[in-house]
């Protein structure tokens, strides 16, 4: 590897800072009492406590999965603080009253909340550690009957919606990490778009893990009623930490008949240092259920975390429903990613598309794991999968694990995969035209990822492009 390439892939994480804010914490460890305490602190209704307890009791009976192509030392679940909320200094009436330190932290991340909200026409429900602090554009949305708020607020204001849909896509017993989340989730986001409404702006949440040794257990529930359209953005950055931090989020999407949900993620949590110390363990369960003629589209750009374990999936239950998965996953240094999707075809004439772009640099290990399942009743189901890997340097790895299960003879399933390297010839060509090597790498990587990046909403695409470049400085442009 040339010097410039090495320099580029060895850049330090830019977002390493810790914000000092008073926190409301509970003791370390996980017991039934802790689960009750979390629920009590949040003043939750009985159905939610019951949900948590069922999950907790189930969790005690199951084992952490080991099938993913990632390696890490065992997680001590009793050494984690399961709840932490910033103590508000006073009750907030508007954005101006948000803790200045908090706002400064957002600024450092390049997210001037009010500016962004105003200029980009984005309503931002900012999640800082585990509790939502500020929500903007609520009024405009409320006029249309769109609900966009923190999960806790939804529990208070719209318990019937939460009770109806919580766990309807990812049941409390789904998998080890989802079950853990179901027991201890602290907060998250909730959105409901009523029948026939096209949400007039992108709904956006910035997550950020801040308190040391605090696991982050977000819960997102997004419901698009019949014929509704919504686009949701999720973006993340986290400060440098020496100890590994566990993140086990759950995202559930419900697209009722004729609805359309586009869910976009840019994930840039702390990946650990060049030797693999520190960094976030990101074990996330994301799934959507698509009813008749509805569409769910996942787009993700994953550049952060020490370990990524994540398979945003679609259950294509209704006839003629459509599922899409567009992914860029980048691993550098000693990062490991095992990510992909599941497309479960149940309804007739269901269609799914999978475009996965894996980029490996440094000693990074990148695995695509995807399942396409065509059930018996899924007449004329179609799937197209494309998995491309790009290698930078000679110490990284790319792996592809496609699982295809077809139980209906009318199905048509296609899978294509390629692996390529950034060649010396490509780099020399760019440099001969006057483009320096690191910019050339960034350009080539962004070109590789373009098919996915163009699926992102405009303002996010720009951020994602920069991030790819930066992450390979630590790799894309």
């Amino acid at each position: 590897m040339t010097d410039a390439l090495r320099e580029l892939t060895e850049q330090k994480y830019k977002y390493g800072f810790v914000t000092e804010i008073d926190e409301d914490r509970i003791p370390k460890g996980l017991t039934e009492d802790i689960v009750r305490l979390i629920s009590h602190k949040k003043g939750e209704p009985q159905f939610l406590l019951d949900f948590r307890l069922k999950a907790f009791r189930h969790w005690l009976t199951i084992e952490e999965p080991r099938w993913a192509n990632v390696r890490y030392s065992p997680i001590d679940y009793q050494d984690i603080v399961y709840y932490s909320a910033p103590k508000p200094k006073k009750k907030l009436a508007s954005m101006d009253e948000v803790d200045p330190e908090l706002r400064a932290a957002f600024k450092k991340l390049g997210i001037p909340l009010e500016e962004q909200a105003r200029l980009a026409n984005v309503a931002v429900d900012a999640v800082f550690d585990s509790v939502s602090v500020a929500t903007t554009f609520k009024k405009k949305l409320a006029d249309l009957g769109v609900i966009f708020c923190s999960f806790s607020e939804a529990v208070r204001e719209h318990p019937e919606l939460v009770e109806r849909y919580l766990g309807s896509v990812v049941p409390y017993s789904d998998n080890y990490f989802a079950t853990l989340n179901s027991a201890v989730f602290s907060d998250g986001s909730f959105a409901y778009v009523p029948k026939g409404i096209r949400c007039p702006m992108e709904l956006s949440t910035y997550f950020r893990i801040n308190a040391a040794d605090t696991g982050q257990f977000e819960r997102t529930l997004l419901v698009a009623d019949e014929g509704a359209h919504v686009s949701y953005l999720e973006g993340c950055t986290a400060p440098v930490r020496d100890k590994n931090q566990l993140h086990a989020a759950v995202v559930e999407l419900v697209a009722l008949d004729g609805a359309e949900i586009k869910y976009s993620t840019v994930q840039n949590w702390y990946p650990g240092d060049a030797e693999g110390r520190g960094g976030i363990y990101n074990f996330v369960t994301k799934r959507g259920k698509a009813m008749r003629r509805s569409k769910i589209s996942w787009t993700q750009v994953e550049t952060g975390s020490a370990i990524t374990w994540k398979y945003p999936s679609c259950i294509l239950q209704g006839d003629e429903s459509v599922g899409e998965f567009y992914s860029v996953a980048l691993t550098n240094h000693r990062q490991q990613a095992d990510t992909g999707t599941k497309m479960i075809h149940i309804g007739k004439n269901t269609r799914s598309t999978i475009i996965s772009k894996g980029i490996s640099a440094g000693r990074g290990q990148n695995s695509y794991r995807g399942q396409v399942k065509i059930l018996k009743g899924a007449e004329n189901a179609r799937n197209y999968s494309q998995c491309d890997s790009l290698l930078i340097g000679d110490k990284c790895g790319a792996h592809t694990f496609p699982y295809i299960e077809v139980r209906n003879p009318t199905a048509k399933v296609e899978h294509e995969a390629t692996t390529s390297k950034i060649s010396e010839d490509q780099l020399f060509y760019c440099r001969q035209r006057g483009i320096k090597e690191e910019d050339a790498v960034s350009m080539i990587v962004n070109g590789f990822a373009r098919q996915v990046l163009k699926e992102l909403p405009m303002e996010f695409a720009v951020e994602a492009q920069k991030l790819l470049g930066m992450s390979l400085e630590g790799s894309v442009g």
């Binding site: 060649s423 010839d425 490509q426 020399f428 060509y429 760019c430 440099r431 001969q432 035209r433 006057g434 483009i435 320096k436 090597e437 910019d439 350009m443 080539i444 962004n446 070109g447 590789f448 990822a449 373009r450 098919q451």
Partner: protein, 271 residues
Amino acid sequence: MSSKDHENRPLLQVEGLRARIGETEILKGLSLAVNLGEVHAIMGPNGSGKSTFAGVLAGRDHAEVTAGSAILDGRDLLAMPPEERAKAGLFLGFQYPVEIPGVGNLYFLRTALNAQRKARGEEELDAVDFLEYVKDRMKLVEMDPTFMSRGLNEGFSGGEKKRNEVLQMAVLEPRLAILDEIDSGLDIDALRIVAQGVQALRGPKRSTVLVTHYQRLLEYVVPDVVHVMAAGRIVLSGGRELALELEKKGYAWIDEEAQRGAFAISAQGAP
């Protein structure tokens, strides 16, 4: 030459250049001088080192330079990384242009131009201004606008790639263009378009070195000087008629003569 500076000094001055690939010496004391505004053709049989020479000038690190010098406009080319040579005004037209999937042709060109403009202290062009800038130049090589939004050389035919090289040259406006077999693999129409493009870019402020096997290109772009390269050196230099002679007699006699050392004296570049 009319400019006073260049009466004393050619734009490109190569002296005693030696380079090897692995253990094999490819360039064996090559010397060449190209004055501003001139078009030179370097001809020679396969394996004589023409492409290696072009690559070495542009800074490709496949060959190791062991002796000699290459000065462009008073600057030591061999001491600069490839991108600095480009910014100094050196352009290499590639024999095999690479494909870079997903990187838009137009975007690539603008990035390259802006990198060079920035180095010259000029303002960078935004997408709108650049489009204006590139429009006329596209006509020069009869490039369809749809090509500009496609990935760089992605799925281009051989002829399209070569036209794209000439377009890049037109956009970047180099002081010295070295075109490595810009005529290879072209059908008669593509050759005409490429050659006309190169001819149109000829001017008093630019020098061009055409590396070629065939003299057909030279019917469109009539060179001021023709050099013959054999066994890693320029062994013979002359005018336009030399190319015609080579066309008639082939390269075999050059090889034989070179092996006998017959050209030891005439190996000093421009006549």
